[in-house]
């Protein structure tokens, strides 16, 4: 073990700083753009000289944007919930049981999530218009769940595998019915996995642009990424950079809060001390 010399500490601090700067420059740039007034937008300066909340008041007085926020929150929460419910059950079966076709199911579900989404846009468009799902919440929830479920199953089955099988045996011996064992012993231990999966699925749905743009046409179901692309500036030739930047900041905040809230729940080693060896 090499010693923690001051020089090594400084080197690593320097490298950390470089990485952090590299990651945060775009973020700071967007925030600064959102705070600039129309005149200084293209002045090429990194920080705004006269910060103003104009862009923000603009987007919040835009009904379409507000409606799209509601759409995003609703659609993403429902997709996450559905993916978690089905994913948990499927992952438990995959982690614990051995049934014919298990490998095939896992392989196929991974294949689905790796399939290029752009190739599915046109067929999905046709299917949804035929079924009347086009431009509805359900029309987005179904594709989102389809792509999120394999991810959920994969993550959750890894967590379930970590829970020692013997805990369920012990619960059985202690007098628990299978449901009681699941609710009182397994679920609390699977919580970190559930929250991790929830975060991953929510972010995947929240950030999706492709399906949002292709499968919606009005603000009945248009989500925020798509709505942002429809922002108009003062004239048809002017790009509304300010409002777009403001919208970007606004839609990032919920995700940041979501992750900060739930990161404490993702505690590794929750099952330490349960079994020996």
């Amino acid at each position: 073990m090499r010693q923690e010399t001051a020089q090594r500490k400084w080197t690593w601090a320097g490298i950390n700083a470089v990485v952090l700067i590299y990651a945060f420059i775009p973020v700071i740039w967007i925030i600064s753009l959102s705070l600039k007034d129309a005149g200084t937008l293209n002045d090429g300066k990194f920080l705004p000289t006269s910060p103003t909340g104009d862009s923000y008041s603009q987007i919040f007085s835009n009904d379409d944007f507000l409606r799209s926020l509601v759409n995003s929150i609703g659609i993403c929460l429902i997709s996450t919930f559905v993916a978690l419910v089905f994913g948990t059950m499927a992952a438990y079966a995959i982690a614990r049981l051995d049934f014919p076709g298990k490998r095939t199911i896992v392989a196929v579900s991974l294949l689905i999530s790796m399939f290029p989404q752009i190739a599915l846009v046109t067929p999905l468009f046709k299917i949804e218009t035929t079924l009347g799902l086009f431009d509805t919440w359900l029309g987005l929830i179904i594709p989102y769940v389809t792509f999120a479920l394999p991810l959920a199953i994969y993550t959750l089955s890894a967590f379930f595998r970590e829970i020692p099988w013997e805990l369920e045996k012990a619960a059985k011996m202690d007098g628990a019915t299978p449901y009681q064992a699941f609710r009182q012993v397994i679920t609390p231990l699977a919580m970190p996995g559930v929250f991790t999966t929830a975060i991953l699925v929510f972010i995947a749905c929240w950030n999706d642009f492709l399906f949002a743009i292709s499968l919606t046409s009005t603000n009945a179901s248009r989500t925020v990424p798509a709505a942002m692309s429809y922002f108009t500036g003062a004239t048809t030739f002017e790009k509304p950079t300010g409002p777009i930047a403001a919208a970007a900041v606004v839609i990032t905040i919920p995700i940041v809060i979501f992750v900060l809230l739930f990161q404490r729940r993702i505690v590794a080693g929750l099952t330490s001390g349960a079994v020996k060896g």
């Binding site: 013997e166 012990a170 059985k172 011996m173 202690d174 099952t271 001390g273 349960a274 060896g277």
Partner: protein, 412 residues
């Protein structure tokens, strides 16, 4: 507290592997019975069948006179202590111990009382609010036992509970387990692969191998009258020495020379129609330095001592006899199971001598051995020709190597 009876219990896995065959045992109320044997012998499978965690393929299991083959584990009123403790990591010690009572719908006041009683018995009172992650191995094991105790079940089932503890702790916990069982008087079935635990803890010991019961009896009985080669070599540490021999008339010829067979042994051998090729079994303590022995009937021989270990109270003298080793399937299996499969030149013999012996390494020493304590095994079948099982649960016909050869798979 209840009597547990296993009648012709068989466990066969779907792929055909026979884990337990024809298991017959009557466990009396309050008895501490031990299932011991090498890995894969079927002892854990048997325990799981009694618990209800594994289905019984054939035969009957009765607890307190009732057939419970199809009863769920929770309806059998038995508690289990696992090798790996299986404590609920998200609950405190108190909650862990109270969990079975909570599931049974017992009121909080009673739960608190019972948990306190069990905690006092196990010296866990100051740890009741801690999580398993913050406890030592021995403390976790005590919590696992506490969880079993609070239910006041009909029987305790313990699956190698001390295997994961270090040697010193194991000795401590062993006495605690024994004390608790005596205090509570609950019928206990205890599985272990450690013959020391078997000898020290059990009222009766069941030696298993390859899914079959080899012998049932008290520890002393198993030690003094092992029914076949396997039991003889498995029980006792250091283990019994095996030497090939030939019986002619009333003498037995072996690498130790010729010796007259004691009266009782002679009668038993003749009754068994035996003679010819045999394997002699002599325990280390039945050797002695000939200069110390005063005129006791037995045989003597001279040999060069390879290695001397002085323990203070005894002296272990190791020597090699220039002869062919005794060959038997049982002995080979024993060697494989216990790991003693180093084959040197000749037969390595361990002897335990009185500390008064002034033996030194390399010295040529005359040793005496007690022929009345010698065990004589048939070379082919491995059966002990001079000892017959006395316990009613021991199989009438001790299993021969051919039968015990059916190995099960996939079971600890």
């Amino acid at each position: 507290m209840a009597e547990i009876v296993l009648e012709n219990v068989v466990k066969r896995y779907p792929d055909g592997a026979l884990a337990v065959d024809n298991f017959n045992l009557t466990i009396r109320d309050g008895e501490f019975i031990i299932l011991v044997g090498p890995s894969g012998c079927g002892k854990s499978t048997t325990l799981n069948m009694v618990a209800g965690l594994e289905d019984i393929t054939d035969g009957r299991l009765l607890i307190d006179g009732q057939v419970v083959n199809d009863k769920a584990p929770k309806d059998r009123d038995i508690a289990m202590v696992f090798q790996s403790y299986a404590l609920y990591p998200h609950m405190t010690v108190g909650e862990n111990m109270g969990f079975p009572l909570k599931l049974a719908g017992v009121d909080k006041a009673t739960i608190d009382k019972k948990v306190k009683e069990a905690a006092e018995m196990l010296e866990l009172t100051q740890h009741l609010d801690r999580r398993p992650a913050n406890l030592s191995g021995g403390q976790r094991q005590r919590v696992a036992m506490g969880r079993a105790i609070v239910r006041s079940p009909k029987a305790f089932l313990m699956d190698e509970p001390l295997s994961n503890l270090d040697a010193k702790l194991r000795v401590q916990m062993r006495t605690q387990v024994s004390r608790i069982q005596k205090a509570l008087g609950t019928t206990t079935i205890y599985v272990t692969h450690d013959q020391t635990e078997a000898m020290t803890l059990g009222d009766r010991v069941v030696v298993m191998r390859g899914g079959l019961i080899q012998q049932v009896g008290s520890p002393q009985e198993l030690y003094d009258h092992p029914v076949n080669l396997f039991v003889a070599g498995f029980i006792g540490s250091p283990s019994m020495n095996f030497l090939p021999g030939k019986i002619k008339g009333d003498t037995v010829t072996s690498p130790l020379g010729e010796a007259k067979l004691p009266e009782r042994a002679l009668k038993a051998i003749q009754a068994a129609g035996g003679g010819g090729d045999v394997i002699l079994g002599i325990r280390p303590e039945h050797f002695e330095d000939a200069s110390i022995v005063k005129d006791k009937p037995g045989g003597t021989f001279s040999t060069a001592i390879d290695l001397v270990e002085s323990m203070g109270s005894d002296v272990f003298a190791y020597f090699t006899l220039r002869a062919e080793e005794a060959h038997s399937k049982d002995l080979e299996d024993l060697a494989a199971d216990t790991g003693y499969d180093l084959h040197g030149d000749g037969i390595s013999v361990t002897s335990r001598l009185d500390a008064a012996s002034r033996v030194r390494e390399g010295q040529e020493l005359t040793l005496w051995y007690d022929t009345s304590k010698m065990q004589v095994f048939d070379a082919k079948s491995g059966q002990n020709l001079v000892a017959k099982p006395t316990d009613e649960d021991s199989p009438e016909e001790p299993p021969s190597p051919a039968m015990s050869g059916q190995r099960d798979e996939g079971e600890a």
